[in-house]
Symmetry: none
Subunit: 181 residues, 4 copies
DNA sequence: AATGAATGAGGCTTCATTCAT
DNA sequence: CATGAATGAAGCCTCATTCAT
């Protein structure tokens, strides 16, 4: 594992466990097993580090979810697949998930970066809009639909961090019942 | 307005806008128009202040939601009423809502307090369980159901802070479709 | 016991147990069972309080020692009597003794007060000088003699706070052997 | 001079002149010509600094006194030699001596450290006990003897900080007369 | 005279950042 | 590149003192 990733990984774990501001650069350096000065060769400041970490995780997350999209499949299938992937992400990458949950709204994240990472998920928007046109999901504002299911799924998995396949099926079913026509 | 509430109010606004850790006690004092020392007559430490603020808001929130519960009504009505109240709370108390959204998971909130505030919502649990017995809502784990709709509704209203009555109806319908049998 | 003495007494105990600076005015007020403001009716400031306490104790100490002086007795007897009284003072008033031991040199005590309290013991000086003239004690500088025996006796009793009569006799004998001719 | 010693030295002088509690860390830093933060690289807290300074001085003091012990010499000579060294220490290291005098009993010094530094002087105890066995000094409790002469000598030199050789001889003689048989 | 809430200067300590090695 | 000692601004908190009641 390269040194930059080492640092980001150490930072993520500490942030999740103790909060961004309660985690000092010294502490990150100790966990990453490098000198404090070294970190400043990779990240110009703590703020930069936090923003880069945020970007890294969001990119990883969006890739994980979107890479299962198969345009051959039906819209319903595609939507449900993204949900399953979202749930799977939490199970496979609990720390990254917790990070997103906790610091998504951190005031340190620049507004610009926040907007950029939102765009990573734009392919989802198209799917939902196609779904609406096909009449298989409710004709609501797309952002509304997305927020609803994202909130629902995230909260579900957070409240029960160790889901088994039946739990996953149950949550996916509820989400589908919520938005389908 | 009494001085203690002044302080809590100033703190809440600053916390929501700039984060708990980025908000200094000096800053809160300036906003609350009192000396720093005065705050320590009411709250033994910043941590205590944060915890008391959390409790205050959670109690206010739970009262607001639960006070519309009418045992005479059908379970479906009662469930939907609580959702409408939850949405109304966000519209009427946007800062308090944002506070809950942001700091619900703050590592500063003591585990004990977190548990205590959870119990404030226990009446909801009974309603859902009656609903399950009556067969009108899905036979899922109650905490799962609650998390799902809570997450969904919160995310919905957060993504669109100025909802009109139709939006509210739409969200409530989605939530109901999600959990009904 | 009057209120002023109450305050001085509470202050003395706290100072001895925790140090002058570590003892807050609030704490003294709590122990003296009066309001903080009340203390300021009796002592203009903490510094004044400390200085008055110092004076009070030193006066008490000097009176205790000097009141046994009997000009009818021989010089040797008078000297030894003061030592016995000094030892007795420690046994009877351990807290006051500890206070003297600890804060005798406190930088808060004003130089003037320190000089004034020194004069309280001036009768002793005359006795030693008479003793030198009579040739029964060593012909040293009087301050030297006084310091020597005072240091010796204080250290003795401090190292063994619960002396029995034989211990007292032993210390007195050593002191006498030290200065006698 | 190394930086740690610089800090300890600055601290010692300020403590002696103004008291431990009246001396702020900022002040010590200014005198030591370093940043405040630098001090915390060497001492984890003000309390630690005070304790380490105490240890340093006590070790220096005990070494200074004990290094003249010569088992070839008579007990009387050995005892008197340690006294002369103690007096010499005060003359050569007046600030260190004042520090011992003033803060020996500071409530900040940990009880454990106090016990440890006492043991530094254990060789003295053996000498006195040999002296008692040989019948050349009074058959008192050893700690009593030690306290007596230590208190006497310290007080003597403190009351007259610039002693000449005759004064030293006089004090040593008084001390010897006090304990000899 | 008695009280204690209010105040803010100042204390200890942390920590992001720099820079000489 | 890597390191970590040095730095001082800024944070939390204490506490002597005041003043309105």
């Amino acid at each position: 594992m390269n040194k930059r990733d080492n640092i980001l990984n150490a930072a993520m774990h500490l942030f999740v466990d103790h909060g961004e501001q309660a985690t000092s650069m010294k502490w990150i350096a100790r966990e990453a097993e490098c000198g404090i000065g070294t970190m400043y060769n990779y990240f110009a400041s703590k703020e930069k580090l936090i923003n880069e970490l945020y970007l890294e995780i969001k990119v990883m997350y969006s890739r994980f979810i979107l890479e299962v999209l198969d345009p051959e499949k039906s819209i319903k299938h595609q939507i449900i697949d993204t949900w399953r992937r979202a749930l799977e992400f939490v199970l496979r990458h609990p720390v990254e998930s917790k990070y997103i949950e906790l610091f998504c709204q951190s005031p340190i994240i620049s507004e610009q970066l926040r907007r950029e990472t939102m765009e990573l998920f734009s392919p989802l928007i198209e799917i939902y809009e196609t779904g609406k046109k096909e009449g298989i999901i409710k004709n609501q504002d797309t952002l509304q639909l997305l927020s609803f299911v994202k909130g629902a799924i995230t909260a579900s998995v957070m409240s029960q961090p160790e889901m088994n396949p039946e739990d996953i099926d149950a949550v996916v079913l509820m989400a589908w019942d919520a938005i389908r026509n």
